[in-house]
Symmetry: C2
């Protein structure tokens, strides 16, 4: 099962979700590959890895997946890291033939070795995110409980529909995960209520609260589930993993 | 004076800074043009404008600036709006000749009518941000007080240096503005201390606090300086405008 974690709005918790959901699924006994598709390499540093080659060499070069995939400190969680060169890939891929399907072809060699492949996308609907959507079985949309969050959602869902019609007929919406929820502000409560009324069962029941432990954990190079397993942030991502696993059962 | 508000890291307060600093400068009596270069059109909706044509038509079409610039509810503040079509410009501009200088040429017709032109950039170092940096006299970098904030800064400053050496010799760093500062968390205090020790006088004295009024104001289509002039957020942006105006005096 390949899941793209995508939202072109910046800073909504894509990387926090990709890293911590991957860790939660691995701690539930699943074999997980986290793919870092953002040239900022936040997901890579979030699991304590600073690599010299990775997904850029895989997509644009001749490298095989096995030579760039690395283990992490979380049992059963591997990483396909990002490097700064990835920033050039957005433009370089434009001139490739079958440019939207490069990642999907490269990943096909290794998907059998994992139960879940989780792809962290950059904040844009460019070539890298289109590659992730073309490779994915489903897309998980982190949505910050802020006003601007709703503005970009229709553009994202239009893009998902377009990819489903052209490159990837199996692509479905895995769900919308509300992030940085702060029960003390009416803004958070209003946005959460509006998203649930629009998207109903497509919204994960759990909301990820604003929790400083989530913001601190990357500076220690580990997911919040390792850094502070008792935190509200860790509990929320464990719950999101359980909801995801239940989806698989009833699918 | 053209200022690009840029940082490829998402969700760090670029739009909040572009909108509220523009409003604060206008309320200080300056004539200001806010340019929305993000296809999410957050800056446009942040000043209550939903346009059918704007900077895309200006850069890729044959429109003149005067036919797309609109007034806002803030006296002396005009807007050059974004529309969704702008999402296609990243790729379309790649094949233009002098592709990095398209915006600079189009803006040259109107820069004499404004004291400040403030450009809100998308969260990427793509063609649109390169156009903004080529057109700008200086770049203002909003920096969220979070761990990931420091990771992308060197890539951004490398890009600024590259643009200065090739397309725009006058481009300088206007300053780094710390945003979403929360004095209660050690994470915020650590990041702020680290940035000041690295960049010294290049960091604005004022820090923009995390303030829910800043997050609420876009849903009312107005800058926080109009929505809640007494808020800590409004006060911080008034202070940042004063610091900016003082830079001009001693430059
Ligand atoms: N629930 C949360 N509570 C507190 N801080 C959070 C939470 N989720 C994410 N953060 C922090 O907020 C910032 C933005 O989150 P993150 O980097 O995961 O977003 P993103 O969508 O991946 O950003 P980008 O668009 O740049 O890729 C980071 O500093 C992160 O550590
Ligand atoms: N100081 C602040 N206090 C509270 N909320 C803030 C503050 N600054 C910005 N926000 C809110 O945080 C979110 C992210 O800010 P904003 O959209 O300005 O960032 P950005 O860098 O422009 O994002 P993008 O990378 O998507 O363009 C928005 O919902 C905004 O309203
Ligand atoms: Mg990210
Ligand atoms: Mg923005």
């Amino acid at each position: 099962m390949i899941i793209a974690v995508a939202n072109q709005k910046g800073g909504v918790g894509k990387t926090a979700t990709a890293v911590n959901l991957s860790a939660a699924l691995a701690l539930e006994g699943k074999r997980v590959l986290l793919v870092d598709l953002d040239s900022q390499a936040s997901a890579s540093s979030g699991v304590g890895v600073r690599a010299s080659s990775g997904v850029y060499e895989l997509m644009v070069g001749e490298t095989s997946p096995h030579s760039v995939i690395v283990p992490t400190s979380v049992p059963r969680l591997d990483l396909l890291p990002a490097t700064r060169d990835l920033a050039g890939a957005e433009v370089e891929l434009v001139s490739c033939s079958a440019r939207e399907r490069v990642l999907s072809e490269k990943l096909s060699e290794i998907t059998d070795s994992y139960d879940y492949v989780i792809i962290d996308c950059p904040p844009a609907l460019g070539m890298l995110t289109l590659n992730a959507l073309s490779a994915a079985d489903s897309v998980l949309v982190p949505l910050q409980c802020e006003f601007y969050a709703l503005e970009g959602l229709s553009a994202l869902l239009d893009t998902v529909a377009r990819i489903r019609d052209s490159f990837n007929t199996r692509l479905r919406l895995c769900g919308i995960l509300l992030t940085m929820y702060d029960a003390r502000t009416s803004l958070s409560r209003q946005v959460a209520a509006e998203v649930r009324s629009h998207f109903g069962g497509k919204v994960f029941s759990v909301m990820v609260p604003r929790n400083v432990r989530i913001g601190e954990s990357p500076s220690h190079g580990m997911p919040v589930l390792q850094y502070d397993p008792a935190s509200t942030g860790a509990a929320a991502y464990r719950q999101a993993a359980k909801e995801l696993l239940n989806q698989g059962v009833t699918a």
